[in-house]
Amino acid sequence: MDHLTNVLTAISHPTRRAIIGQLAIGPARFLDVAKPHDTALNAVTKHLKMLERAGLIERQKQGREVLISFRGEPLREVAGWVHEYERFWNERLDQFEKHFKQKRKKEKKR
């Protein structure tokens, strides 16, 4: 797989996008990255491996701890490849889809 494909694959999964979102705020330890996700630790490890392969995260040893941090550079490559209308419509339809998911969830709770 070429590098762009690795990056696109890495950001195609909601959990991995959420991890990027967490790490964009600041570096974190593995368990802190895993904590908000309702998924097994080995699944988180796999997600991190894919992000690492895409160059979107890096690990740095600080004393006895390993800190995972976000690297934004590969996203520039994607940003230049995707047309603004592709981003625009994807973003709009994401919001639209989310609105109906939440609506159905509320209806089922009643």
């Binding site: 520039r76 995707v82 998911k101």
Partner: protein, 143 residues
């Protein structure tokens, strides 16, 4: 000289948790988050065949004319903005029933493929903006 401009087509598909009729109506209701008319600074919308729309967002005007409005299956309208360089592009949205849900397909065709459209800076800002949004720390980015 006969100058032809290269154009691109954008296709986006989502499965929406509602019936085609509900999704169709919501797509034309400016109050529903995610449709093109939502969060406008100014909006004139007449969603009937040969009806026009004017949509202003962040100082960027968008104009178009509805060419097909067939509830609950299909909506088509033209779309012109600064980003289409004055060219009339076409947006076609179809809604197909799939069990309890609706498969919604949006095709935006005839878009001039320019460097500006693929702007690195714009794209970069987009990525920076969507991350806080996922965690409820920012407002959705609009164009």
């Amino acid at each position: 000289m006969n100058e032809s401009r290269r154009t691109i087509e954008v296709k986006v598909e989502r499965t929406i948790a509602a019936s085609p009729g509900e999704v169709f109506d919501a797509w034309l209701d400016p109050k529903t988050p995610g449709n093109p008319w939502n969060m406008a600074e100014k909006l004139l919308l007449n969603p009937h065949v040969d009806g026009f729309f004017y949509w202003l967002i962040k100082g960027n005007s968008h104009y178009g004319r509805f060419t097909e409005v067939e509830r609950p299956g299909r909506i088509q309208h033209t779309w012109m903005s600064r980003s289409t360089l004055g060219e009339e592009t076409t947006v076609t949205v179809t809604f197909k029933k799939q069990g309890e849900d609706t498969v919604m397909t949006l095709v935006h065709s005839g878009i001039p493929d320019t460097d500006a459209g693929r702007g690195h800076e714009k794209g970069w800002n987009y990525f920076l903006d969507i991350f806080p949004e996922q965690f409820g720390k920012g407002s959705p980015k609009e164009k």
